[in-house]
């Protein structure tokens, strides 16, 4: 069913077809509803927005800027992590910087090279490790640490419905349900624990296709750019399988998210009682004596000495 007499540009999973104007209205309403439904953003926030220069994070920043214009007590600051991936990250950093300049937003950039002594590419040359594993651990570590230093009340990320579905399935396939307890639209401990900056995902209920469509219509979409390490990842294989399933059975991704949201309170109750330790090297939250970032940093030091 078409929304109006204008030409449709997208068919939603439920069968409705929307024109450009109605799609933009639908998308923004969905993001604002997600923010309200999961109580993601309060009336007064010093909100960090993690951006990469890709479509998801810039779409997020574009919409949050609208929100902050309507609510001046919500202050936005962008934060970017430069992993050091040749032929990929330099271009997206420029896009991110241009976007922030155009929108008068402050961008704080940090790099693996400055923080850990070398770019990711070099780390992968001297350590036998899956790229996304070490990259993810260092990125999360830096985002939390820098968010605290910058005094963010929360950190918003551009994770969309596809990202979350992939994570849920990956955790199922690897029998890692404890990791799923750390998923959801709002993650990290509550306000009582100042060592974690809560992370929020306002695009949680938007599919990757919807985000790309919105980015295209708003002139945010740049040329195709995929991390060269992604093709090797387990996530990429789960993503492709999920997309094949979605094509055959439309609505699969929404079903995964909706059923997950029903089980999430139980998962959180079962797994968040575990005591949080603090890394004896850096003081950041850790599951054991040392956090994973410091463990990898130690391995890098040893590998450097061995060269």
């Amino acid at each position: 069913m078409n929304c109006c007499s204008e030409k449709p540009i997208i068919s939603l999973e439920a069968g409705q077809k929307l024109c450009k104007e109605h799609f933009i209205e639908y998308f923004e309403a969905k993001v604002f509803k997600t923010i309200r439904q999961f109580d993601l953003i309060g009336k007064e926030e010093n909100l960090g927005v993690a951006i990469s220069g890709g479509k998801d994070s810039l779409t997020l920043l574009h919409i949050l800027k609208k929100l902050s214009e309507q609510n001046p007590k919500i202050k936005l600051t962008a934060i970017l992590i430069n992993e050091g991936i040749e032929g990929y990250r330099n271009h997206t950093i420029l896009i991110a910087q241009n976007f922030c300049d155009k929108n008068s937003l402050k961008l704080n950039s940090y790099s693996y090279e400055e923080e850990f002594g070398m770019p990711l590419d070099q780390m992968l040359n001297i350590l036998e490790v899956k790229p996304c594993t070490i990259c993810g651990i260092f990125r999360r570590y830096l985002l939390n640490k820098k968010s605290k230093e910058l005094g963010f009340t929360k950190l918003a990320t551009g994770h969309n419905l596809d990202d979350e579905c992939q994570s849920i399935l990956m955790n199922q396939f690897k029998n890692n349900i404890q990791a799923s307890a750390r998923l959801g639209p709002k993650v990290g401990l509550n306000d009582k624990d100042k060592n974690f900056v809560q992370r929020i995902k306002p695009l949680y209920l938007c599919t990757e296709k919807e985000v790309t469509t919105y980015a295209f219509l708003n002139g945010i979409l740049d040329v195709f750019n995929e991390c060269p390490n992604v093709v090797k990842s387990y996530r990429a294989q789960v993503r492709d399988m999920l997309n094949d399933f979605e094509a055959k059975f439309p609505g699969t991704k929404y079903s995964i998210i909706n059923s997950f949201l029903q089980t999430l309170p139980g998962l959180k109750a079962a797994f968040t009682d575990a005591e949080v330790n603090f890394c004896k090297s850096c003081g950041e939250p850790a599951a054991k004596e040392k956090c994973n970032a410091c463990k990898f940093a130690d391995r890098l030091e040893k590998a450097k000495v061995a060269i």
């Binding site: 450009k20 990929y88 296709k209 295209f216 991390c227 992604v230």
Partner: protein, 68 residues
Amino acid sequence: MQISVFYDKENKEKTIEIGKNSSVKDLLANMKINPVTVIVSRDNNIITEDEKVNDNDKIRLISVISGG
């Protein structure tokens, strides 16, 4: 019909031969591309899978998968 297709993921333009009255859905099936993974534009306007394609159309396929 001949359709010129630029797929950003591959960064190249291809000419696809397809039967009369074909739709975007048929074009994607011909190219073995999952419709969930792309948005399709013609003259810089997004079109849906039901839309008919015409002889000599210039189509751009935009991958929705990106980032890291």
